[in-house]
Symmetry: C2
Amino acid sequence: MTAKSQRNWNGDPADLLKASEGFRLADVDPDATPGYPDGKKRGESDLATGADELDELQERLFAQSRVVPGSPAVLLVLQAMDTAGKGGIVRHVVGSVDPQGVALAAFKKPTKEELAHDFLWRIEKRVPDAGIIGVFDRSHYEDVLIGRVRNLAEPAEIERRYGAIVDFEKGLTDRGIRLVKVMLHISADEQKARLRERLDRPDKHWKYNPGDVDERELWPAYMAAYQTAFERTSTPNAPWYVVPADAKWYARLAVQALLLEALEGIDPQWPAADFDVEAEKARLAAT
Amino acid sequence: MTAKSQRNWNGDPADLLKASEGFRLADVDPDATPGYPDGKKRGESDLATGADELDELQERLFAQSRVVPGSPAVLLVLQAMDTAGKGGIVRHVVGSVDPQGVALAAFKKPTKEELAHDFLWRIEKRVPDAGIIGVFDRSHYEDVLIGRVRNLAEPAEIERRYGAIVDFEKGLTDRGIRLVKVMLHISADEQKARLRERLDRPDKHWKYNPGDVDERELWPAYMAAYQTAFERTSTPNAPWYVVPADAKWYARLAVQALLLEALEGIDPQWPAADFDVEAEKARLAAT
C-alpha cells in the first residue's frame, strides 16, 4: 500500500477483503465500506488518483514484457450476481488504462463445442499473455456456481472441478500470472432496486433479462455455492476477495486498490535497451 | 456534424480530410490543422466533450445490437509510418468508450501460418461483430504498403490485392459495417524528433526499434505506395481519410470527429424491450 490513492484507507484492502480460513459470506454486509470510512466524494477523488497510478504501472508491465522473456501478467476474475456491477468495474476501473494492454474475455453460456470439452478448455485459451492485464467477466467459476445450483453436471463432476481449479490456478501463478479473484457482493434488495431501474428506464431495457428474476428465486442456493467455492478454492497464491458492492463507488475503489496492490507486488520496471543507444542516435542523426 | 464537440470546426472533417479523386498526398501539410483554426487548448477541450458523445453513441450502438439482428458495426482502420500516433489514437480516442464495446486487432508481421493463406485470411477473422467498434492497428493495407516497398510479393500479386481489397470492403459495408480508414500523416522531420525522444528517454527505449531507421530510408517509396493505395482503394463506400498528425491533439480530435460522424450516420437507437415490461415489473415485485 504505497499508492497515493490508498492514503485514505485505514487498513490494507487485500487483508480486509480476503476470504481466508473461516470466512463466512453471510457475515459480510454488502452495504459496508470496509477500510474506507470517508464516503463517496473522497472515494471518487481517490479513484481518479488511482487511475493514473494504474495507468503507469500497466505501461511498465507492458513495456517490461516487450523486452524481458517470461514477464508476468495480471488476471482479474470477476464473479457476481446479476447487476452487481461487473460492467462498471470493466468500464471505470479497467477502462482507465491503455486498451492495448488489456484483454477482456466475457464468458457466456457455453456453446455446444465448449460443452464437448473440459470446462477449463475455453478458459485456458483466454489466459492473458505476458505483460497484459486480463479480465474475466465471469469465468471457470460459473461451472461450480450456476453449474452447482442448476445441476448442470453430475455431483461428482462438480466436486472434481474444485480441485481442477486449484491446480489450474497454481499453474497460472507458477507462470507468473497474478490472480485477483473478486466476488462483487450485493444484497438481494439492492439487486431488486437495480432490476427495477432497468425496467423503469427505456434506455436500460436492453440490459434486462427476464431470466434474472428466475435466478433471484435461487439466491440462497447461489450464496451457498459461493461459500463452498471460497472454501475450496481460496488459496494463498490465489485468494478470493469479497467486495461489498451495494455502494458502486466503494466496489470500484476496492477493486482498483486490489489491482494496484497486485501490480505493486510485481513492481514492473522500464526495461533496459536491447540495442546500443548511442549508436542508434548516430544512425538516426545521419538520416 | 451535429455533435457539440464539432462546433468549432469551420468545415466538415470528413469532407476536408477525404482522399477523393485527384487527391495528392504530397500536397498535404502534416503540420496543418484543416478545419480547426482554434489551436490545442480548445482542441483538447473539444476532445473531452467528444469523448462523452462517442461514449453515448457507442453504448446505443452496442445496445441496439443486443436486440436487433443484423445491427451495424464500425471499423476504424489505422495506417501510418512509425511514431505517427496510432497508439495515441487507440488510447485517447478509442480508450474513452466502454472497453466492452471495442475490439482491437493489432496486425504484426504475418506468421508462417498467415503467410500460407491469402492476405485477407487473418483480416477476415477480426472483422467486428454487430454493435462493436473494431479497430485495426495496421491492417490488410500493409500488404500493399510494406508489401510493395519491400517486394514481399510478386508485382502481379500486389496488383491483384487492390481489387481484392475493394471487393472485401464492399462486402463489409454491404453488411452494415461502417469503415473509417485513416492514414495518420507525419513529416519525416517530425518522425526523426519522435524517434530521438525515444532514444533520449530510458522509459521510452522499449518503444524504439532499430528497424525504424532502416524504414526511414524508404520514406519516398512509402509515400508513393500510400498514394497508389488511395487511388486504388478510396471508394465512395470506403473512402480514405488523410489526417495531418504532426500535431497530436489535432490528429486525435480529427479521428474522433470521423468516428462521431460514422456513428451519427448509423444513428443507433435504444432498442425496444423484447419482453412485457409491466409483466416483468409485477414478477420482480413478487420476489
